[in-house]
């Protein structure tokens, strides 16, 4: 099965757009497949300067050279992706007007179940939201207020025009186009994403948030996020992801680059709830994401928190390159896989500077027929005197048909560095379940409570409004897993 299975309906759509591509530049969807023409089309659609197009084409040509060398080292099994069988550009027809209320009823139902209308809550809480609907950024709230403070928060397509010097300087500086197969693909075809710049010395007073959504059928989503925290600044950034339920698999290959300069701090939180496929493993998002932070400055700090409950396939390793002396990186992760989901996720902490610190807390929960792998690298360079790493990976198995795996790599070249890694595997004990049920909780309430306890260390690092959602998601993701 190809990643995006063609249906009768989409064949019709192609008919419709076969000519549209050449003549109608206003069309809202490029034809299927990937070629230099498509890339030129995307670039033209965005009215990009020549240097952007060149960058894309360079990436595309490199990607062609890679041929079918998709990374195969992860513990993931999925049918071969047919990259010519997807749309690389899809924009909602009324992009500029699309309101944030425009959410799939199915999704609304989920949020109702969660008891918190996410968007409303974010608005109320004063969270600035940039919504990426398929490929374009449809609305950015609180723009004005942020502008006054000197914060740049806008779709990256806009930043290319308004702040080319920043984009030129930093785009691809953490994740170069040649980094890996999916990052190369993204560099060639990315359509939108968020751009954030926090000026020197500013503690951004509100959380910035992007809300990603894959809506169109057979669309790949390739967003690109770039966050720069200038000297002494601070920002907390939230990312939420959802997608409607479809039988086809859809590809999501994003790249996120963070740059923290001297004394700057970035907190990046993700709640990923892409459609995971149904109980039989049909459909669901293929999530191949490259996220990396460069702690360039002295005393800089980056903290990744992720709650991964969705996607059929998750391939994701938010990393930190600890270049600046005294810089620190933290990675907190909850990954839940149920039914036929597969996740291979973790982090890389590359210690280059002196007195650099990293901390990794990973909680993997596997249920149903799912597989859940923690894969992480801690590398201490020869010059990273007094570097410190602490890693704790805990896996929880629910039922006897799932798998939980831990694959850490620890490479040390400095005698004064200290690394510590611990991993455990366990299950929810019958005693714990009985105890909860004896206090009147249903099986599902009990599982949710116990698993939330297991994930506590990670969930408590989330900003409040996300933490509540994440806690409920934990319970919902595991529904039907024990019984």
């Amino acid at each position: 099965m190809a990643v995006t299975r063609e249906t009768a309906a989409t064949v019709k759509e192609i008919e419709q757009y076969k000519y549209g591509f050449v003549t109608d530049i206003e069309s809202d969807k490029a034809p299927k497949g990937l070629s230099e023409d498509i890339i030129r089309f995307i670039s033209a659609k965005k009215n990009e300067p020549e240097w952007m197009l060149e960058g894309r084409l360079k990436a595309y040509r490199y990607w062609l050279e890679l041929g079918d060398q998709e990374p195969d080292w992860a513990k993931l099994h999925y049918p071969k992706i047919d990259y010519q069988d997807a749309y690389y550009y899809a924009a909602p027809k009324k992009a500029a007007l699309a309101s944030l209320d425009e959410v799939d009823p199915k999704l609304l139902e989920t949020y109702k179940k969660l008891g918190i209308p996410l968007l409303e809550q974010q608005m109320l809480a004063g969270v600035a939201v940039d919504a990426v609907f398929d490929s374009v950024s449809v609305a950015t709230t609180y723009k004005k207020k942020l502008e006054e403070m000197g914060v740049i928060f806008m779709p990256i397509s806009e930043a290319v025009h308004k702040h080319p010097e920043l984009v030129k300087k930093y785009l691809g500086s953490v994740v170069p186009y040649s980094d890996n197969f999916f990052a190369t693909l993204n560099a060639a075809v990315f359509t939108d994403g968020s751009f954030v710049y926090i000026p020197k010395g500013l503690r951004c007073p509100m959380e910035l948030s992007t809300y990603f959504r894959i809506n169109e059928k057979n669309t790949g989503q390739f967003e690109r996020t770039l966050i720069i925290a200038d000297e002494g600044s601070y920002v907390s950034y939230l990312e939420g992801c959802t997608a409607p339920q479809r039988d086809e698999n859809q590809l999501h290959a994003a790249v996120v680059e963070l740059i923290a300069l001297d004394d700057a701090e970035i907190k990046y939180s993700t709640v990923q709830n892409w459609y995971p496929g149904d109980a039989q493993g049909r459909g669901g998002i293929y999530n191949f994401v490259t996220k990396r932070a460069a702690c360039r400055g002295r005393n800089s700090k980056v903290m990744w928190t992720q709650v991964e409950t969705g996607s059929a396939i998750t391939w994701k390793y938010p990393s930190c390159i600890l270049q600046g002396d005294n810089s620190s990186g933290e990675f907190y992760s909850v990954a839940i896989t149920n039914n036929h989901q597969q996740a291979d996720t973790g982090t890389k902490m590359i210690h280059l500077g002196k007195n650099t610190k990293s901390k990794i807390i990973s909680k993997g929960i596997s249920a149903g027929h799912a597989d859940n792998t923690y894969r992480g690298l801690v590398r201490i360079g020869a010059k990273a005197d007094n570097a410190r790493n602490y890693t704790q990976c805990d896996s929880l198995l629910i039922g006897s048909t799932c798998g939980a795996h831990t694959v850490p790599y620890i490479e040390t070249k400095n005698p004064t560095a200290r690394t510590e890694h611990e991993a455990t595997t366990s299950k929810i004990s019958e005693d714990q379940l009985f105890y909860c049920r004896q206090r009147g909780m249903t099986q599902e309430e009990a599982v949710s409570l116990i698993v939330n306890g297991f994930c506590k260390e990670v969930l408590q690092t989330l900003p409040m409004e996300f933490a509540v959602e994440a806690q409920k998601l934990v319970g919902i993701s595991l529904e039907g897993s024990v019984g």
């Binding site: 005698p415 004064t416 890694h421």
Partner: protein
């Protein structure tokens, strides 16, 4: 013969095969042919082979090895002096993998034969996943089979001496150990070499433990500083059998001790521990794989290492718990201590779990000698050099004290102490 595109060139080609003595019989010949058909297309594992990413073989591949059996200028008349005499143990001596009755003792209770045990050969060490088993099988010379049918009272001390003449030599011995149900054996192995040209020891050991059988196997590898040792061991454990293993690595240019055990019967228990101490440009690699194939088995691993000079220590440990292998208890720990600036430690402990009612854990740590501990000893009037030595000894003792045979524990500990005192002398000079 030129290797296929992308493979590194190595000395184990057609010419090497031609100079390797013919097998004893047609069965062995067929076994070797089959092995070469596996080895040749894959060659020596390169850096892209995940299991070998930390242990490059480039330097080894450049040494013009000839088969040891083809070297007519090797002359060994005695066991090298530094090899410890284990009280009460019977000696079994191999030179370049070949059994030497003239240097060996008579052993009671153990059936020793140079004929291959066909029920074992090639069944436990798998060529497909273990490249060193494929290399061994391709050029397999001497086979030594040990069979134990009751509890052997005399420990066996197998001494494998590597010796080159005017050219570097390689040898590929195969040891087959069959412990019958209820039987038991204690086996100590010393792998050492004589000064001179480089050697490559490529021993493969296949071990079968019958129901309720017990094997204690203690292996010390102390090759010459320019020599190579690439060993692979496969262990199959039946119901309620018990295996205790300890491995030391004290030097050699490049040493890899790869141990793979499979639990085939409920109630099997495995203890596998090791210690390494490296200096100069030594590279040592412990790679273990414990496969809990059936429910109700347990395994425990503790590996400790100290590294100095420009050395590199590697530990890769994989624990696999099969679907339905409930009530598995599997643990694994690796800790390494840096003695100075220069060395490198690579560690990859791995859990692969497919059953929920299990207790599995691993831990890994690296660091240097704790300054607080040093200060404490200094405050008690102990000079820094002695203090460091005491602390390193204590660090490694956490592994060595798991050797249940007292005489072996004492001998192995003495070896480590010897290494440490030689090293600190060298540092002082």
């Amino acid at each position: 013969m030129k290797p296929a595109a992308g493979l590194m060139e190595h000395p184990f080609g057609a010419d090497y095969a031609r100079r390797t003595p013919a097998p004893a019989d047609a069965m062995l010949a067929a076994f070797r042919d089959q092995a070469r058909s596996v080895f040749e297309p894959q060659g020596l594992p390169g850096p892209k082979n995940e299991a070998w990413r930390f242990t490059p073989l480039r330097a080894l591949a450049k040494v013009p090895f000839i088969p040891a059996a083809a070297a007519d200028d090797v002359d060994v008349t005695a066991v090298p002096a530094p090899v410890a005499v284990l009280p009460g143990a019977a000696r079994l001596v191999l030179v370049n993998g070949v059994y030497r009755a003239d240097l060996s003792d008579k052993i009671e209770g153990v059936e020793i034969s140079t004929a291959s045990d066909r029920s074992l050969l090639g069944h436990i060490a798998t060529m497909a996943s273990v490249p060193m088993a494929a290399l061994n099988a391709s050029f397999m010379g001497a086979v030594l089979s040990l069979k134990v049918t009751k509890a052997a009272t005399t420990p066996v001390h197998l001494i494998s001496v590597a010796a080159a003449g005017s050219q570097p030599v390689a040898f590929h011995p195969r040891l087959l150990i069959n412990i019958a149900p209820g039987a038991a054996l204690t086996l100590v192995e010393t792998h050492c070499g004589l000064p001179g040209q480089a050697t490559l020891a490529n021993p493969v050991t296949e071990i079968r433990l019958g129901e309720g059988a017990q094997l204690k196997r203690y292996v010390q590898v102390a090759e010459q500083s320019d020599s190579f040792h690439l060993a692979a061991t496969g262990i199959a454990l039946a119901k309620d059998s018990r295996f205790e293993g300890f491995h030391t690595g004290l030097g050699g240019a490049l040493v890899r001790q790869e141990i793979a055990a499979v639990m085939h019967g409920t109630g099997a228990h495995l203890e596998l521990h090791g210690a390494y101490a490296l200096d100069g440009h030594s590279h040592h690699d412990f790679t273990t794989s414990i496969d809990h194939h059936v429910p109700g088995c347990s395994s425990n691993q503790v590996f400790k290492g100290v590294v100095g000079g420009e050395s590199r220590g590697v530990y890769q440990g994989r624990i696999h718990v099969a679907r339905d292998a409930q009530k598995t208890d599997a643990r694994q720990l690796h800790k390494a201590l840096f003695l100075e600036r220069g060395p490198q430690i690579d560690c990859k402990p791995e859990l692969e779990i497919y059953a929920d009612d299990v207790q599995c854990a691993h831990g890994a740590a690296t660091g240097e000698i704790d300054a607080d501990h040093l200060f404490f000893l200094a405050a008690r009037g102990i000079d820094p050099a002695t203090a460091r030595m005491l602390l390193v000894e204590a660090f490694l003792a956490d592994a060595t004290e798991r050797i249940s045979e007292e005489t072996v524990r004492a001998a192995f500990t003495r070896d480590i102490q010897g290494w440490l005192s030689r090293r600190s002398l060298k540092a002082a000079a």
